[in-house]
């Protein structure tokens, strides 16, 4: 008998299960909600400490409690249909009109630039040039042209939000790959059919990305318009509160305003999920 070295252990009993514990980073074991709460508490805590030790003047930074009280006050005013609600409604109208205008103009320009050689060659360079300008600087012009009413704010809001939508649409129309284009050619598809049945649906994720960036910009545009062009909107309330050194009021107004912005963003996101149902977003929102 020759002796072979085998992999079989001589005595099965001596071999233990090779079960071992893999180390997991601590943060991976914490749910998102708890991690977020932690940051929130830290933030409020630091804020409270800074104010209660008198490190900054109360005019510059109110205490968290003062801010909360003012938020409740403003909230009551909004819920009971007070003057703040009227102002908020004006700003919301500016945002909605501006956003609708930006989507209409941005999408049309995007198709012109993304689909036609003329648009790409002759129009795109000008759009890029205008896009690099500080758009807020146009506010006085819009006031001069359109007056102190909501029109000038709508114009500035739309002006700011249009460009990301143009860029998103143009990029989306270039997203279709060579195979899809060739396939449509072999099917004898017209240019219009190729655009509507292939290029546009293919580009929807990019188009929505542009619209989302636009949704953020439209808010900024409306408020900036109100700062620079007066009127009766929420931006005016903020400006007045700031000039009266009523810092808690400024804080709470900004918070309510950001709720409007958030609602708009979530509305776009929800629409995107419904329309572009096949596209799984990889951006880190939501639990795993």
């Amino acid at each position: 008998m020759t002796e072979f070295q085998t992999n079989q252990p001589a005595d099965v009993e001596t071999v233990q299960d090779t079960v071992w514990v893999q180390e997991i980073a601590f943060i991976d074991s914490v749910p998102r909600s708890i991690a977020m709460t932690f940051v929130f508490v830290m933030f409020i805590g630091t804020w409270q400490l800074v104010t209660s030790f008198g490190l900054v003047s109360p005019i510059i930074l109110p205490t968290p409690l003062e801010t909360l009280n003012d938020m409740i006050f403003v909230g009551k005013n909004l819920l009971t249909g007070g003057y703040m609600l009227t102002s908020l409604w004006i700003t919301i109208k500016e945002v909605i009109y501006g956003f609708a205008l930006a989507i209409a103009i941005g999408f049309s320009l995007g198709v012109l630039v993304g689909e036609t050689a003329f648009g790409e060659k002759a129009v795109m360079p000008y759009l890029v040039a205008i896009d690099t300008m500080p758009k807020v600087a146009f506010a006085p012009l819009f006031v001069a042209w359109l007056g102190f009413g909501i029109e000038s704010k709508v114009a500035l809001a739309a002006f700011i939000a249009t460009f990301p939508i143009v860029v998103g649409t143009a990029a989306g129309l270039h997203a279709a790959d060579e195979n899809a284009r060739m396939l449509f050619k072999t099917m004898g598809a017209s240019r219009m059919q190729t655009l509507i049945k292939m290029k546009l649906p293919t580009g929807l994720p990019q188009i929505f990305t542009g619209v989302k960036i636009g949704a953020v910009g439209v808010m900024a545009g409306a408020i900036t318009g109100e700062f620079l062009g007066g009127g009766k909107g929420f931006g005016e309330l903020i400006r007045v509160a700031a000039s009266q050194l009523n810092t808690p009021r400024v804080f709470s107004l900004i918070l309510y305003l950001s709720l409007v912005g958030l609602a708009l963003y979530l509305l776009v996101q929800w629409t995107q999920r419904k329309v572009v149902f096949w596209h799984k977003e990889r951006v880190g929102a939501g639990e795993h």
Binding site: D177, N179, A180, M182, L183, F184, K185, T186, M187, G188, A189, Q193, K197, M198, P201, T202, F277, W278, H279
Partner: protein, 269 residues
């Protein structure tokens, strides 16, 4: 399998010439590259022809000319007695990628060529036929599934159906399974053979794989580059239906060696 689907699409008898290329040349004006020089080629009804050659031998140019996607600079390209002057419904095409559209279900993707050519109503009418085709390629039950949920092989099966829905007289296959892993690729090739035989289809396959060309084809067009031209048309007289076992037979090996020899000579030039 299905009497209605197995009908003779073109009406021509099996073995009759269906696609004829005479003296076809293509020079790209941009850089004066002669991509194709004096190509003569006849596809017979019901035959399976492959074209093989190193890159730059003009095989994709040849395919595009045959598909009516680009015009030749010289020569005649005639399908079913009519010159090819653009994309046609009697030409079916399949690419390396399945290119199914993710916003459409499997059947909706399959009737897309009908929707483009004849409108939504005609596409709706073609739904039954799409279901039958899915059954033929073994995708029964996946009719209303979105492409995201299909594997690579399943997606290519669906794209075979999309190619067949318009009942084309000739199938142009541009390396259709080269993106698949080797096991699925062998299986899909056998599927392709079965479908082509059932449908009496005339197929023209561009491939990089000598084995694939030999196992599937009646004729193999070996092309050489600079300028792209036909070096030889190799007949494969292995019996049909072909099986994967045939790949180990001496005859198969002989043909593969012969073609490899030709291609190696081509590289030297």
């Amino acid at each position: 399998m299905n009497a209605e689907l197995a009908t003779d699409y073109s009406g021509a008898p099996v073995g009759a010439p269906i696609y004829e290329l005479t003296n076809v040349s293509k020079t790209y004006a941009r850089n004066l590259v002669v991509a194709l020089e004096k190509v003569d080629l006849t596809l017979k009804k019901g035959s399976f022809t492959s074209v093989i050659g190193s890159s730059g031998c003009g095989k994709s140019t040849l395919l595009k000319v045959m598909a009516g996607l680009i015009p030749p600079t010289q020569g005649r390209v005639v399908l079913q007695g009519k010159p090819v002057t653009g994309p046609r419904r009697d030409i079916g095409m399949m690419f390396q990628q399945a290119t199914l559209f993710p916003w459409k279900t499997a059947v909706e993707n399959i009737v897309l060529p009908i929707e483009i050519r004849d409108g939504k109503a005609a596409a709706k009418k073609a739904m039954d036929k799409a279901h039958e085709l899915l059954d033929i390629v073994g995708l029964k039950g996946f009719e209303n599934v979105y492409p995201n949920e299909l594997s690579g092989g399943m997606a290519q099966r669906a794209s075979i159906c999309r190619m067949l829905i318009t009942e084309p007289a000739v199938l142009l296959l541009d390396e259709p399974f080269s993106a698949l892993d080797e096991l699925s690729r062998d299986m899909m090739n056998m599927e392709l053979q079965r479908i082509c035989m059932e449908q009496n289809a005339t197929a023209f396959l561009v491939t990089h794989s000598i084995q694939e060309a030999v196992i599937l084809s009646d004729d193999i067009v070996v092309m050489k580059p600079r300028p792209g031209r036909i070096a030889e048309i190799v007949k494969v007289d292995l019996p049909r239906p072909r099986t994967l076992d045939m790949m180990t037979t001496p005859k198969f090996g002989e043909i593969v060696d012969h073609i490899r020899g030709m291609l190696d000579k081509g590289e030297d030039m």
